[in-house]
Amino acid sequence: MFMEYPVLAVALIFGVLAVLVKDNAVAALSLAFSAATVAGYYALAGLVVASFLVFVVYIGSVILMVMVTASMYGGFFDYPRRYKAAVAVLAVVAALLLWALIPQAPPPQVGQELQPNFDLLALIAALLVSSLVVAIEVAKRA
């Protein structure tokens, strides 16, 4: 498959960085990049529903909560502003590169049996996000 090995290598590098880096918030950021790269790999392979699930549900709720937790008990905000700007620029450049590369991949193939499941997936996404919100509220009031 086109770009298979570079994409997987990036996911592996960010996954290893997530464990080895000292700073909690930077580790959570590396984890988010690793998960996003795996989701990009799904998109490149034409697995649209799986890519949607990982991007929206997993990164949008689970990884977001990990990043918030790590930022609360990490140290990312002690870094200089130019460092944060450089990381943001790098992320934007990587996203633009992926955006330019994905249309060259084979067209997405959504099986007939997967079409009716979109409503169910949206429902699961809503349930997961609401369960995380409830967890935070319970933790605050317990």
Partner: protein
């Protein structure tokens, strides 16, 4: 697709190492998520060959990840509120360590 399985297994191994080596609750949470990302990568061939089975395995995996993050996150918040630390060694010693 074999490469996806290999990368997934390596990520799972790295995450398990992180679980064994970390002494901070937030790092434990991140290590668990690295294991989940490895499982996501290793699941790609299943999604290609048997989409329905792979999709439901993916839904199950993400649901489990959300559940564990909710529980571990709540434990971290409560522990920090009670002991002002997320360091496991410090918690074990009753906050004696500087």
């Amino acid at each position: 697709m074999i490469a996806a399985i290999a990368v997934g297994l390596v990520l799972i191994a790295v995450g398990l190492y992180g679980l064994a080596a970390s002494r901070n609750m937030v790092r434990l949470l991140i290590a668990v998520e690295v294991v989940v990302v490895g499982a996501l990568a290793a699941l790609a061939p299943v999604l290609s060959t048997a989409p329905s089975v792979g999709l439901w395995a993916l839904v199950l995996l993400i649901s489990m990840a959300a559940g564990e993050v909710a529980i571990i996150g709540a434990v971290i918040y409560r522990t920090y509120a009670a002991a002002k630390t997320t360091d496991l060694e410090e918690l074990r010693s009753g906050g004696d360590r500087p």
